[in-house]
Amino acid sequence: MTIPSIDHARSMVGTDYSESNLKAFLNGLPGVDAVGLEARAADLGTRSIKTSSKAWAIDKIISLIDLTTLEGADTPGKVHSLAAKGMLPDPSDPTSPRVAALCVYGDMVGHAVDALGALHGDPDAGLISVAAVATAFPSGRSSRAIKLADTRDAVAAGADEIDMVIDRGAFLSGRLGLVFEEIQAVKDACVRADGTSAHLKVILETGELNTYDNIRKASWLAMLAGGDFIKTSTGKVAPAATLPVTLLMLEPVRDWHSQTGQKVGVKPAGGIRTSKDAIKYLVTVSETVGEEWLTPHLFRFGASSLLNDVLLQRQKLSTGHYSGPDYVTID
């Protein structure tokens, strides 16, 4: 079946959206064979990235990390520590790139902005942005009003990016129109007084959507509703990001681009702990949508412990010997 252009897509589900149209479209998408999908992901994982490619990949990974702390116990001090790590990942080697963003709870945004100081800005320019989770993250279980207030507060506090969660309960019980509408509403809430907009990442929580068919549908739904990024997980539910799920989400992004010309970003989050794994993601992105996606406005790793493992690999590449945990800082 042919995919409508972005205008058509949006008009299909405009303010007088028809949930039945949306459902018909999403249910008409080709199915996913899980065995084939996982085999393709595994195959991509066998790429051998060595020497100069590895060095490039390591630096690229660092520059694509949304360094994250999302704990109930987060404090201003914790956020300052995170920011320091993001600004200078390896004190023993200042040539290391900075991370792309800090990802924190909405009420910590102010502290993050303060901590970053002059380095707060566009990661495409080598600075660090602030992403806030919102909409009753991680569960998404609260009223619309609260979710929107959550979003507006974070934007007002200075968040450059909003990572929202979709209502999985609504999705799984078939109320796709509600899910769609909510994404649009949050996108509106990202607009600032001066007319600029925080970028919206839509977290699908793939671990709860469970089937690959659901994840495919949710990916399309999020793009139709205007998300700038689709993101796998909150990191609070297992399984979080996996290579097959990320591959699966890259496919609609690829198709959306070829049909509409628009590029949507992808963010796998949670469960990516080693640079070996992260490199597999870079390979998967490159071979599915193309290398041009390996840039902060189109791809991020939602991670915390990944950074240190990557730094250890970076140190080995530069010194020639294996490093250890004492030689990277804990934030």
């Binding site: 080709p30 199915g31 996913v32 064979d33 065995v35 084939g36 999908l37 085999a39 393709r40 066998t46 790429r47 051998s48 990235i49 060595k50 020497t51 100069s52 490619s53 590895k54 490039w56 990949a57 690229k60 496919e251 870079l282 490159s286 071979e287 290398e291 390996l294």
Partner: protein, 480 residues
């Protein structure tokens, strides 16, 4: 250099310790041949690998004598449990020397190290493992109680999966109690010689496995030898026909695994992204040099354009080059002769009106290479729709209804394999019912397992390898 160009990731050949000259492996020893010698070269660099002996009638005779002696004196007297133990040992040693075997296979055959490492060698070990466990359970093979072996089997294997084809032949034959004389293909004798060393490491009784290298004449000597009870051949239909003629009236049992022109049927409700992967692995795995390759794509007309677009895009990330590089997807064609065959058939395809599209690959200077190629606008009467090309060339045809897809898929003298892509189980099973092919893959392709019988209908040969069915080829009471 862009990231996607990936820095070289070569697998080293340092793990190999090759001899300069290999003789035959007869009676548990490496012995000189009585005839000429020939060289095997690496098809990706054209460099010399080693010299091998061209087996004469005399060499074949020596091997059969050794096999018969081992059968009468040792192997037929051993319990199944003991035969099993030898086969388990061989399986384990193949696992231990897996990396070495993968490198040797890639060097000699030209296929990517990714394939030998992840498919050929693990499957070869698995085949020995599986059949080891049958050796002492033959009562359950469906051939009655205490089925007897046939005696000495002559086995001739092709160059496309050298060690794996050796495993497919030797493992069930030995498990069933036979001894063997095996001839590897003349362009790929190397892993068979390493296998001979493995037999020595496993302390396999002398003469149970004998390996005679050589080309067509050596194969003929095996087929014609009077003291061989069973011939097992994998190779071209043309040669298979000749063997079937030769053994007529001789009382020799024979199984043949021959060519194919497999149809990969893609319905409009197929899981599309996975179907694209399946089409690609169906025809470009092992550079298409696979008897069961999905060399005909039968795609439902209403998704034809979309599928072709997606195929072309996907072919853009297939990497052709040094087979020893771990990132190579498409390796070398096995020989100059084979390359010439492919080139000629492709030219015919163009001449007959097919639209040819080839992936833009940088072809290395030395070696034998053919880029992944698609033909659209193919009609059923075209050469590229009927003849087995045995190369990385996909012929694309359309259909409108399931019945038409089936009719087209079956409309060939071959009958080895087929693929069915659909999200609808009832359709998959009904189509599978009607396809005249010995192996049918639904929503997947090119999957092999020692527990799963493999073989063809019609001119793709007869007999099955793998599973319980694979045992009957080597026991009395089996039809073939």
């Amino acid at each position: 250099m862009s990231f996607l160009e990936y820095a070289p990731a070569p697998e080293s050949t340092g793990i190999l310790s090759l001899r300069e000259n290999y003789g035959h492996f007869i009676g548990g020893e490496f012995v000189d041949g009585s005839g000429e010698s020939f060289a095997s070269i690496s098809p990706s660099t054209e460099k010399h690998i080693a010299t091998f002996a061209a087996g004469t009638e005399e060499d074949v005779n020596r091997a059969v004598i050794a096999a018969r002696k081992a059968y009468d004196g040792v192997w037929s007297k051993l319990s199944g449990a003991d035969r099993a133990k030898y086969l388990f040992r061989i399986a384990r040693i193949i696992q231990e020397r897996a990396r070495e075997l993968a490198v040797a296979e890639t060097l000699d055959n030209g296929k990517p190290i990714k394939e030998t490492r992840d498919a050929d060698i693990p499957l070869a070990a698995a085949w020995f493992f599986y059949y080891a466990g049958w050796a002492d359970k033959l009562d359950y093979a469906g051939m009655g109680a205490n089925p007897r072996a046939l005696g000495v089997a002559g086995q001739i294997i092709p160059w496309n999966f050298p060690l794996l084809m050796l495993a497919w032949k030797i493992a069930p034959a030995l498990a069933a109690g036979n001894t063997v004389v095996l001839k590897p293909a003349e362009t790929t004798p190397l892993t068979a010689m390493i296998f001979a060393e493995i037999c020595q490491q496993a302390d396999l009784p002398a003469g149970v496995v004998n390996i005679v290298t050589g080309a067509g004449a050596t194969g003929r000597a095996i087929v014609e030898h009077a003291d061989i009870n069973k011939i097992a051949f994998t190779g071209s239909t043309a040669v298979g026909r000749g063997i079937a003629r030769t053994i007529a009236g001789t009382g020799k049992k024979v199984t043949l695994e021959l060519g194919g022109k497999g149809a990969n049927i893609v319905f409009d409700d197929a899981p599309l992204d996975q179907a694209v992967e399946g089409i690609i692995s169906g025809i470009f795995f092992n550079q298409g040099q696979v008897c069961c390759a999905g060399s005909r794509l039968l795609v439902q007309e209403n998704i034809h354009d979309e599928v072709v677009d997606r195929l072309k895009t996907r072919l853009g990330t297939l990497r052709l080059g040094d087979p020893l590089d771990k990132n190579t997807d498409i390796g070398a064609i096995n020989s100059k002769v084979q390359l010439e065959r492919i080139t000629a058939l492709v030219a015919k395809g163009e001449a007959e009106g097919g639209e040819r599209w080839s992936a833009a690959c940088e072809i290395p200077e030395k070696g034998f290479w053919f880029p992944p190629t698609l033909f659209t606008g193919v009609q059923t009467s075209n050469t590229v729709a009927r003849d087995e090309i045995f190369g990385p060339v996909l012929s694309i045809l359309t259909f409108r209804t399931p019945a038409e897809a089936i009719a087209k898929a079956n409309n060939t003298p071959y009958g080895l394999s087929a693929g069915i892509w659909s999200d609808k189980g009832s359709r998959i099973l009904a189509v599978a019912d009607k396809l005249r092919a010995g192996v049918i893959w639904a929503n997947t392709f090119n999957k092999f397992d020692p527990a799963s019988p493999f073989g063809g209908y019609k001119e793709s040969g007869f007999g099955r390898e793998g599973g319980i069915q694979g045992l009957s080829a080597y026991l009395e009471g089996g039809v073939r």
